[in-house]
């Protein structure tokens, strides 16, 4: 009974209720479907229109605060490139037109400060009456802006004008070190040089002013400050760079050549002090060709020609162009032979003025007779080198080329570096090996030569050449320091010492005499390379050297491609003379001072020329030959004469064809 009573008390959720709830559920379902339909409709109907608005209001409600791109400094802190704040004049016609009283004073102020035509501004304001962003002027300086803001303070009716910050890249030295520094396009895109290689370090992060609507629909602005880019401190010394460029310009005026490249560097850490060639351009105006072409020529150029001309001008000869190094390569041949104990300083070679290799008669610049290792460098004797090459064999020779970083990028921190072209070991037949031993039939870049030569004279440490010393924040805190550390050991200290002494003697008594600088221990090697095709009789003359030879502090490399003067075109004298002139001016800046009394005695095994070669023709003995004559002697050293030039093996032809096209 009790149980039944309880049952009565329980009120059930009855069937009709279930049915009605199902109806409610059905209504909800319909409403949900309606809402989904609405969503899909919105997406299809307004998608494009609204998507655009989403993007457009990103700029409408928030404006950018530009960061300042980092400066580029030389090694002493001189500014080579900097970004300076300029202002864009922005007017808001919408605001100006809110009250009739605003228009006249505002337009008046604009025209008095910026010199804009009153009628022009007025019509612009009326034309774009609903706009709140009209750029009136670009890149106005701060003092003009100050002037306007003072006016604005005096007269409260000047409304709707504000200034948008922007940075403009400025290169105070114009075309100085243009290939190393590089320029920027669009304000923050580095093109060539340090500007390109260190683009991401130089660039910062833009800040923003955000506009927000709070729930009461008031516009609230907040600022997120920009993060400025880092400053890049270069290893370039602007004084040295300037002197080098002046000498190049002088040389171009007096003699002239297709290309002149000069690198000055520190052999003890790979820092480049100066890197210049004869095709500088104005970094503030990098598209200006007027330095090399006259107006008529520029006007007649089509897009393609112009692009080609610009690229030629922007090209960094010192790292992008390859050529046959010629005799300046000989120190490396000698160094490798010493390393392998194939020769000693006492070893003597026999030079008969010509050597027959692989069916070719390869000539020397003179008949030197019996020469020691040191004399082979001093006299730039080809048969001696060929003998070494033969003793080493193709594989070993090729290994040493590799060892000295030829045929691969040095990894210098500049864009556009070339690798050079080496013949692989299996293509180095007897004749190619012979010519390679004195620096022909393979291509190198200037920077490869500087890197390898530095290692040979500094005691054997290969430092990667570089143009940037450190990266600091705009506040001066160090971000990254380029610690110099040797990446390879190329030769032993003994070999290095022998070469320094031999190179000193080469300048002192040998073929490189014009490179002497009074009061300094200059050591180095000349080179006259015959360009391909050999029959064209075109030459690259060069000199690579170091100062002082007892403890090298400076390495200099001068390359002159196709001297315009016919009588001097094959004479390395133009290179040695230029080197001497440059060294004389730059050494004091590098704190390498002339020694009052030279106390440097070099004792290397020598063959006494007067005894051994009594009838030696064209000797390069002390004080016997004039500069021009000496050069002319050297010019004949390449063993291919006109008749033989056509018979150069095909493999060589192919390789060199490529080189020529590459250049």
């Amino acid at each position: 009974m009790a149980r039944q009573k309880e049952k009565v008390k329980i009120k059930k959720f009855k069937g009709y209720m279930q049915a009605k709830l199902l109806f409610v559920f059905f209504v909800i379902l319909c409403a949900m479907i309606a809402i989904i339909t609405r969503l899909v409709y919105l997406n299809n109907q307004d998608r494009e229109r609204y998507e655009k608005r989403v993007l457009s209001q990103q700029t409408f409600l928030s404006s950018t605060i530009p960061y300042k791109r980092g400066s580029i400094l030389d090694r002493n802190g001189v500014v080579l490139a900097s970004s300076d704040k300029v202002y864009n004049v922005i007017i808001e016609p919408k605001v100006i037109l809110t009250d009739e009283e605003y228009l006249e004073p505002t337009v008046e102020a604009l025209s008095s400060v910026f010199g804009i035509d009153t009628a022009e501004v007025t019509s612009l304001i009326h034309e774009k009456s609903t706009s709140s962003y009209q750029r009136l002027l670009k890149q106005v300086t701060i003092d003009v802006v100050d002037q306007f803001e003072n006016l604005q303070k005096e007269n409260k009716k000047i409304k709707g004008v504000w200034f948008e910050e922007e940075y403009k890249r400025n290169y105070p030295y114009g075309n100085l070190a243009s290939h190393v520094i590089g320029y920027t396009s669009a304000g923050d895109v580095g093109t060539w040089g340090i500007e390109e290689y260190y683009n991401s370090n130089l660039n910062g992060t833009n800040g923003r002013v955000y506009g927000f609507y709070d729930p009461e629909l008031n516009l609230i602005r907040t600022r997120k400050e920009a993060i400025n880019g880092h400053t890049v401190v270069s290893t370039i010394d602007i004084n040295i760079q300037r002197i080098v460029e002046e000498h190049i310009a002088k040389f171009q005026d007096e003699i002239g050549a297709n290309n002149v490249g000069v690198i000055v560097s520190n052999p003890n850490n790979g820092e480049i002090y100066a890197m210049a060639n004869n095709k500088g351009f104005d970094l503030n105006n990098p598209y200006d060709l007027s330095a090399y072409y006259d107006e008529v020529e520029i006007a007649s150029m089509d897009e393609k020609d112009k692009e080609k001309a610009l690229n030629t001008m922007w090209r960094n000869f010192s790292i992008s162009d390859t050529y046959e190094p010629g005799s300046t390569f000989k120190p490396f041949t000698v160094a490798s032979a010493l390393e392998e104990h194939l020769v000693t300083p006492e070893t003597t070679f026999q030079c008969d003025g010509v050597k027959r290799v692989g069916g070719w008669n390869i000539k020397c610049n003179a008949r030197h007779g019996k020469v020691t290792l040191a004399q082979s460098l001093m006299k730039s004797c080809n048969p001696s080198m060929m003998a070494i090459g033969e003793a080493e064999g193709a594989a070993m020779f090729r290994t040493y080329q590799d060892h000295f970083f030829f045929g691969k990028k040095t990894g210098i921190d500049l864009p556009g570096e070339a690798e050079g072209i080496l013949l692989p070991a299996d293509k180095l037949h007897a004749s190619e090996l012979a010519t390679s031993s004195f620096g022909q039939t393979f291509n190198v870049t200037m920077i490869q030569m500087v890197g390898a030569f530095s290692s040979v004279v500094n005691g054997g440490q290969y430092y990667q050449p570089h143009v940037v010393k450190e990266i600091v924040t705009d506040q001066g805190a160090t971000v990254e320091e380029k610690e110099p550390y040797p990446i390879n050991e190329t030769v032993s200290a003994d070999t290095s010492e022998f070469l320094r002494e031999a190179l000193y003697l080469t300048v002192q008594e040998g073929t490189a005499k014009p490179a002497q600088v009074e009061g300094y221990l200059v050591g180095g090697k000349t080179g006259t390379a015959q360009k391909f095709p050999r029959s064209a009789k075109k030459y690259v003359v060069s000199f690579i050297g170091c100062v002082p030879t007892d403890d090298p502090q400076v390495v200099i490399y001068v390359v002159i491609d196709e001297v315009h003067d016919e009588t001097k075109k094959a004479s390395s004298t133009v290179a040695t003379t230029l080197t001497s002139q440059i060294l004389k001016d730059i050494l004091p800046f590098l704190e390498v001072y002339p020694e009052g009394e030279i106390d440097y005695k070099v004792e290397l095994p020598m063959v006494d020329e007067s005894k051994e070669n009594q009838n030696g023709e064209g000797q390069t003995g002390e004080g016997q030959t004039g500069e021009g004559q000496q050069g002319n002697q050297e010019n004949n050293y390449v063993g291919f004469d006109d008749t033989q030039a056509d018979a150069i093996p095909d493999t060589m032809t192919d390789e060199f064809q490529e080189t020529q096209e590459g250049n």
């Binding site: 998608r47 729930p215 629909l217």
Partner: protein, 376 residues
């Protein structure tokens, strides 16, 4: 149950509903982090500020829901042993007092006084508590005499009971009043055997509603905004939401990639959160969310029709209505289908008291499901 035959029965517990709720809460946390981190980092230097606060409420709310689900829901309508008062009556008067207090000393935000300061616990919206109260109270009144609802006078009697609360809410918070009214009406509708007079009631409701809408200035303005959302200066918030929805596309811009949340949609983690869901997860994600709610409502529906008694069934009906109306109004506002009004999206929008109250309601329904006996 027939006598003599003994059947083995087991109490049911709707685990699928439980997990559905937990999933929605977690999804809500993810979306709150996505929508609020930018502004939180900007203004408070702490991108997880809103996330951590909401998490705290979720961590407190979910155990609370499970505790409520284990309490017999009849407790609320049985008289307490000593003071001889029903808890539901107590709750009813508490709500009336709180709603009165909030009108006097409440904290005003956005032009309306809706919040009671609670010291260290932040602030509390009494109208949230009122929603639970209305569900339980209406269900109680109706189940006392379901037959009376068969005529209009019976319905008016229920209105008379709930009326004072409704009146107190409608002063400052029209949209909550709308939800409360909907809960009340739907419970009555389900319990009644007649349909006719609901049509009359509906018409009456629309008339009163219109008077309220056009009578109060700021509501009239909202209609204007709704109709001219692209040109009206105050249509900004809704318009930004529409931009977000429309620019999402089919699969959205990817979680966290909304552009509109970066200061364009004001307080994107609140009522407008659905627009950011549309932008980041696209139509696909938005419809999936709607489907989740539909599934949730379906579970509530099953619990209601299987409820062991009328009271439990009506509680489930009330909660079902609450969730459904809130989801529909929220999404309708976000899509500019109806004039703007501030209703959060259940379980997902940011808001501590709203989340806890919803979880307690879910606890009530789970408690009803727990009383369902089924054969083994």
């Amino acid at each position: 149950m027939e006598q003599g035959k003994r059947r083995k029965t087991k109490n049911y517990y709707d685990y699928s509903l439980l997990f559905l709720i937990i999933f929605l809460v977690c999804f809500g946390l993810v979306m709150i982090y996505s929508t609020s981190s930018y502004n939180a980092a900007k203004y408070y230097n702490d991108s997880t500020k809103f996330l951590r606060r909401q998490m705290l409420f979720a961590i407190a709310g979910i155990p609370l829901m499970i505790i409520v689900s284990k309490i017999d829901y009849h407790i609320y309508i049985n008289k307490l042993p000593i003071i001889r008062i029903r808890p539901i009556t107590l709750l009813f008067f508490l709500c009336i007092i709180l709603q009165t207090v909030v009108l006097i000393i409440g904290e005003a935000t956005g032009g309306s006084q809706r919040w009671l300061p609670l010291g260290p616990f932040g602030k509390f919206q009494p109208s949230e508590l009122t929603k639970i109260c209305v569900v339980l109270f209406t269900a109680y009144i109706v189940q006392l005499a379901p037959r009376r609802l068969d005529n209009f006078i019976g319905f008016l009697r229920v209105v008379a009971f709930v009326g004072p609360l409704l009146a107190l809410v409608v002063v400052e918070n029209f949209s909550t009043a709308l939800i409360i009214a909907a809960i009340m009406v739907s419970i009555c509708f389900v319990a009644s055997r007649k349909k006719g007079y609901f049509i009359v009631a509906g018409i009456l409701f629309i008339i009163v509603g219109s008077i309220l809408v056009f009578g109060v200035s700021y509501r009239g303005e909202r209609i204007e905004v709704w109709r001219n959302v692209e040109t009206h200066p105050k249509g900004y918030q809704v318009l930004q939401g529409l931009y977000a929805i429309a620019s999402g596309g089919l699969f959205g811009k990817g979680l966290g990639n909304s552009m509109q949340k970066l200061g364009f949609i004001p307080e994107a983690h609140n009522d407008m959160i659905f627009s950011v869901i549309c932008e980041e997860l696209g139509m696909f994600g938005a419809i999936a969310v709607i489907m989740l709610f539909l599934l949730l409502i379906w579970r509530l529906f099953t619990i209601a029709i299987n409820a062991p008694d009328l009271y439990g069934g009506l509680i489930a009906t009330g909660v079902l209505t609450h969730i459904a109306v809130q989801v529909l109004i929220n999404i309708a506002v976000v899509t500019n289908s109806i004039p703007a009004t501030g209703i959060p999206l259940p379980f997902i929008s940011y808001g501590g008291s709203s989340l806890v109250v919803l979880l307690i309601e879910m606890g009530l329904v789970l408690s009803v499901s727990n009383k369902i006996e089924h054969e083994r």
